[in-house]
């Protein structure tokens, strides 16, 4: 297990190097000279030369790459171009609201998704199953944007059940602000989750051990909840773990509409302001998180299912 873990860690190095190289080439080579943007409309050559020297842009490309590599390894990406706030500070302070939004969403999605998927898989091909398939298809066809626009207007603006937007400050509780975004995110993500989990569960229900369990005279409840669910939980856990880092960015629309100071909104604002250090830092960090969580998913896979041989 430990040997496998270290082997996988070693395998991550070339991929991580590739990510750093891709981001570097994108921003330092494709992107052109940001000094002209930073210097503003009325700039003189000295200003531009100054800015270039400050950012290290007067150095050859390989030295610039070395600087970026050191930034990644020390998690010190310098200052934001638009607010002069340290980029690592931006990242760490925006992580909290994003997680406060995502974790409840992911937990609720998994639990509700499993419960509904178990129920419809048990009565598969009945009218309930068909009706649910139809409902999920319809739900998935509507854009996330429309859910948020209508949901925010109706539940927050018209009914006034929730604050229209904002986030807790000065010791206020953020729960009040998080409920509506979490529910809207859930409304969007639950339909594909149910479909996916349903196929996982159906696959397990066709296995021989289920027939054996039934032949032993176990109750249907026990067959479904203990035997089937335990085995179906293997792909479900892998799926949940590996989807986690992507969600960090995926919730950007919710964060933007509800003015939640999270990572996703920060990325959008950074793109709007051409704040390259922030985008670079978030891209590399989220890619790292993705790799780590994929590794965790693999380890969890092996831990839950001893049949899986790690190679």
């Amino acid at each position: 297990m430990a040997a496998y873990f270290f082997q996988r860690l070693l395998q991550m190095i070339p991929t991580l190097f590739g990510v750093i190289l891709l981001v570097f080439l994108l921003f330092n080579w494709v992107g052109g000279d940001p000094a002209y943007v930073l210097a503003g409309k009325f700039s003189n050559p000295e200003d531009i030369a100054n800015i270039r020297r400050q950012l290290g842009l007067d150095q050859p490309l390989y030295i610039q790459f070395g600087i970026f590599l050191r930034q990644v390894l020390t998690f010190d990406y310098g200052l934001s171009w638009s607010t002069q706030e340290p980029v690592s500070h931006i990242f760490l302070t925006r992580l909290g609201p994003s997680i406060a939004l995502l974790l409840p969403m992911l937990i609720l999605e998994t639990l509700i998704g499993i419960a509904i998927a178990l129920a419809v898989a048990y009565v598969r091909d009945s009218w309930i199953d068909r009706a649910l398939t139809l409902t999920t298809t319809a739900a998935m066809s509507i854009s996330l944007l429309i859910y948020i626009i209508v949901g925010q207007y109706f539940f927050a603006f018209v009914l006034g059940w929730f604050p229209v937007q904002g986030w807790a400050n000065h010791g206020q509780s953020w729960v009040r602000y998080a409920v509506l975004p979490i529910l809207l995110g859930l409304a969007v993500s639950i339909a594909p989750a149910i479909r996916l989990y349903r196929t996982f569960i159906l696959e397990e229900m066709g296995q021989d051990y289920v027939r054996t369990a039934r032949a032993k005279g176990l109750s249907e409840m026990r067959v479904m909840l203990v035997h089937v669910l335990r085995n179906a939980s293997i792909p479900i856990i892998t799926n949940v773990l590996s989807s986690l880092p992507g969600l960090l960015i995926g919730a950007f629309l919710l964060e933007r509409f509800f003015s939640i100071p999270g990572i996703g909104r920060e990325v959008i604002m950074a793109v709007e302001r051409s704040d390259f250090p922030v985008i670079k830092a978030i891209t590399v960090s989220v890619a790292m998180a993705t790799m780590v969580f994929n590794l965790l998913a693999d380890l969890a896979y092996q831990w839950v299912d001893p049949r899986v041989k790690l190679s």
């Binding site: 070339p14 991929t15 991580l16 590739g18 990510v19 190289l21 891709l22 981001v23 994108l26 921003f27 494709v30 992107g31 298809t137 319809a138 998935m140 066809s141 509507i142 854009s143 996330l144 944007l145 429309i146 626009i149 209508v150 925010q152 207007y153 603006f157 196929t199 880092p245 992507g246 960090l248 960015i249 995926g250 950007f252 629309l253 933007r256 509409f257 990325v267 959008i268 950074a270 793109v271 709007e272 051409s274 390259f276 985008i279 670079k280 978030i282 891209t283 989220v286 890619a287 993705t290 790799m291």
Partner: protein, 361 residues
């Protein structure tokens, strides 16, 4: 006995059936698939007509008063049927003209000169007001500037769907080529492309799209197609590589090798037609994904330029309209999107079933 011979002869005459005709026959037996295909075709014809300038060319014309409701809702109570707009400007007296004071050149001067030469303006000089006839209601309503929502949504569909199709084509071509090279050639080529795949999938898709959008300052329809196509190839690549790994050891490929077919010929003449069904289904699936991605990008303002209308830029106007109580633009655009996306997704499922019944779950 003789009947059998006749039917056999008929079958011989018809010749072997092509995959396309078999798939079409299967599709025809699937009513849901045919329905969705019909809807998709109606959309595509509308979009084609709009692209050719046959319809919705005048989407930018202000036909109605601002936020004219759809015709079945009746006219707005406070609406004035003939909106009166003043087009002549009186120089304000008693104020210093900054243009004269600092000797600056007025940047609007050429436009003002043009306006002065405008015969319409000269004609109205006697009567200084120009009266525009604008309708109080409009089929499906009007937007803030009094433009027809129906025409706007058609024009927006043209942008969104064409971007979706073009970027799906680009992504599928890249994914197929890389998948073919990695799967067929193996060794270091495979290792390199697998590394590239690892890098591209380590970064969440939309984050990568945002990063590229931040770098490419030049906005335009081609820029979005390029961004979506260059980042979206990974899914197709994964499947095509697996198919090539499977096919390259099959007998028919070995037979091709035995008669001296080159690697390129084996890859693209022999194997490619046998994996084309996978490519086609992926292409169809990608179109929907890219339409959704384009809508989100344009909504955020990273997509199409301001003078191009897309479903994303239409949706961008709707939150503020809703608060004012005007919901028709959101309804029309949302409904058009939902219908197209559902029909396209159902058609993709039907296409998958028709091309490869074994894949059916």
């Amino acid at each position: 006995m003789s009947e059998r011979i006749v039917s056999f002869a008929k079958a011989r005459q018809a010749g072997p059936k092509s995959l396309a005709s078999i798939a079409w026959a299967r599709l025809c037996r699937n009513p849901l698939g045919l329905c969705s295909l019909g809807v998709v075709v109606v959309f595509l014809i509308t979009i084609l007509a709009s692209a050719l300038g046959l319809i919705a060319q005048d989407w930018d014309t202000q036909y109605a008063v601002s936020f004219a409701p759809p015709c079945w809702m009746g006219a707005k109570l406070e609406a004035i049927p003939d909106e009166v707009i003043s087009v002549t400007s009186q120089p304000r007296s008693g104020m210093l003209d900054p243009i004269e004071m600092y000797g600056l050149k007025d940047p609007l001067q050429p436009v003002l000169d043009q306006l002065k030469d405008n015969p319409l303006q000269n004609a109205s000089r006697g009567a200084p007001l120009l009266i525009l006839e604008r309708s109080p209601t409009l089929f499906l309503g009007a937007d803030k500037w009094g433009r027809s929502v129906a025409l706007k949504v058609i024009k927006g569909a043209e942008t969104s769907v064409l971007v979706g199709i073009a970027s799906a084509l680009l992504a599928t071509v890249i994914g197929t080529l890389l998948g073919a090279f990695a799967g067929y050639l193996g060794s270091w080529v495979d290792a390199f492309i697998e590394w590239l795949y690892g890098v591209f999938t380590a970064i969440p898709y939309l984050l990568l799209v945002f990063a590229i959008a931040a770098v490419l300052q030049q906005k335009g329809v081609f820029t979005i197609i390029l961004i979506l196509g260059l980042t979206g190839w990974t899914g197709v690549y994964r499947l095509i590589r697996a198919e090539y790994l499977k096919h390259k050891v099959r007998e028919y490929v070995q037979a091709a090798q035995a008669i001296g077919a080159s690697d390129a010929r084996r890859m693209f003449v022999h194997i490619l037609p046998n994996v084309s069904h996978v490519i086609l289904v992926q292409l169809s699936q990608q179109v929907v994904n890219f339409i959704k991605a384009e809508v989100i990008l344009s909504f955020l303002g990273f997509g199409v330029p301001v003078d191009v209308v897309s479903w994303g830029s239409i949706l961008n106007e709707t939150p503020n309209e809703l608060i004012l109580g005007y919901s028709w633009q959101l309804m029309t655009c949302g409904l058009a999107m939902a219908i197209l996306v559902t029909a396209f997704a159902m058609f993709t499922d039907a296409l998958r079933d028709a091309l490869d019944p074994r894949l059916k779950s």
